[in-house]
Symmetry: C2
Subunit: 241 residues, 2 copies
């Protein structure tokens, strides 16, 4: 099939299109390498343009490109936990984690460099962007829990789980992406449930949240499986009651 339209590669891009194209190239480079290992020449080469052209769009050079790429990645990440407030909590969390962990998988080296810190491109601005993602995730999760005015305990539990998810993600990348993603996802959902249950023992608000969430869970769902897997291990603990 022949085409009348000019080949995209030769088409003159608008300012916005060119900017997006450069950002896309930067994102894919920063995803798989530490920022130290990405040069402006690499970005120019990946986008098929000259180095001066990159500078025309990003006069701040690599630092500006990195921050723009990070901001764009952060927007994607902030949407991970946006999920219709329907069905069992464990299933909503699983769908959100699927998106989050796919992001981790696709941005492996960049994700590690970003969260491990100490990188040359890390500034108070990049830290603020990462913290914004954590805050957005926490708000989404609190929404899913159906709490209007979350107290300190519940907020701390959610925050603890978010940092635990980050720790698990780093550890997963560090350990050759084992266990498989769907197993890691289910495990992290279970960890959240366990952390909530523990907090419920100390905090009436969290206890209400847990009771309300349990009502929606099914026997064949994540919590049913967890309950059956865990019971034989802690059966002996009945003497502690």
């Amino acid at each position: 099939m022949t085409s009348q339209a000019p080949t995209p590669a030769y088409r003159r891009l608008s300012v916005e299109e060119r900017r997006s194209q450069l950002l896309e190239a930067a994102l894919s480079l920063f995803a798989h390498r530490a920022p130290e290992e990405v040069s402006l020449d690499d970005v120019a080469e990946a986008a098929g343009v000259s180095r001066p052209l990159v500078y025309r769009y990003f006069p701040g050079g690599k630092q500006q490109l990195y921050e723009a790429a990070l901001r764009s990645a952060a927007e994607d990440l902030e949407h991970c936990f946006a999920e219709p407030p329907e069905g069992p909590l464990s299933e909503r969390l699983a769908r959100a984690l699927d998106r989050y962990l796919a992001f981790v998988d696709q941005h492996d080296a960049g994700f590690t460099a970003l969260l491990q810190g100490g990188s040359v491109v890390e500034t108070s601005r990049t830290t603020a962007i990462v913290d914004g993602v954590r805050r957005a995730a926490a708000e989404h999760i609190l929404d899913h829990l159906g709490v209007k005015d979350p107290g300190r305990r519940l907020r701390m539990t959610v925050r603890m789980w978010i940092t635990a998810v980050e720790g698990a993600s780093l550890s997963w990348l560090d350990g050759g992406k084992e266990p498989p993603l769907d197993e890691l996802r289910d495990w992290l959902v279970e960890q959240f449930v366990a952390m909530l249950v523990v907090s419920a023992g100390r905090d009436p608000q969290t206890a209400r949240v847990v009771r309300a969430a349990l009502v929606l869970e099914g026997r064949e769902g994540a919590l049913g499986k967890l309950a059956r897997a865990v019971l034989p291990v802690i059966g002996d603990a009945a003497r502690l009651l």
Copy 2:
């Protein structure tokens, strides 16, 4: 009472003593302020010496002082989880956390600045020091669990808990040091137990560790209290079994 000995303030310090004194002054400044807000003049003033003298001992200036102070703090922190391998696991963890959380309490602003990242003094060296503390803590905890050859699941669970503890510490500092330290400590111990139990449902090694640990726990101990607090909340979940 009069003293024959010269007043310590006027005694000529040895090189080692002077170095320690400057480090001590830097540590107490970096503990309660962000590194951005500490100058070499502040360190000189706090130590009661001249700025050139500080430079004689630390030619690398603030960066070198910060890293030396961080290294010294890291050594303290690495000892937090060193605990005789005796008695119930929950009690050992509680004692270790007492030390860790006292450190967090005493180094509040510095701890936050260090872990939040994006600071001007943060380098791959400072990141490596912090990571060394996490690794040392993980090894101590795995020792307490009595595992010679910990698998991925168990390692990841321990690492997840360590990052959760960091998240909780930051959140605790951020929220005006509420709840009280001993409550936070007990809560974090319970979170570790819950995380281990969840992993035990997926990993035979972790299951063995949990069973062995449960044998040493008493009815009036942390786990007994947790079991009694949590049972009424999850009682309805029996239908999931």
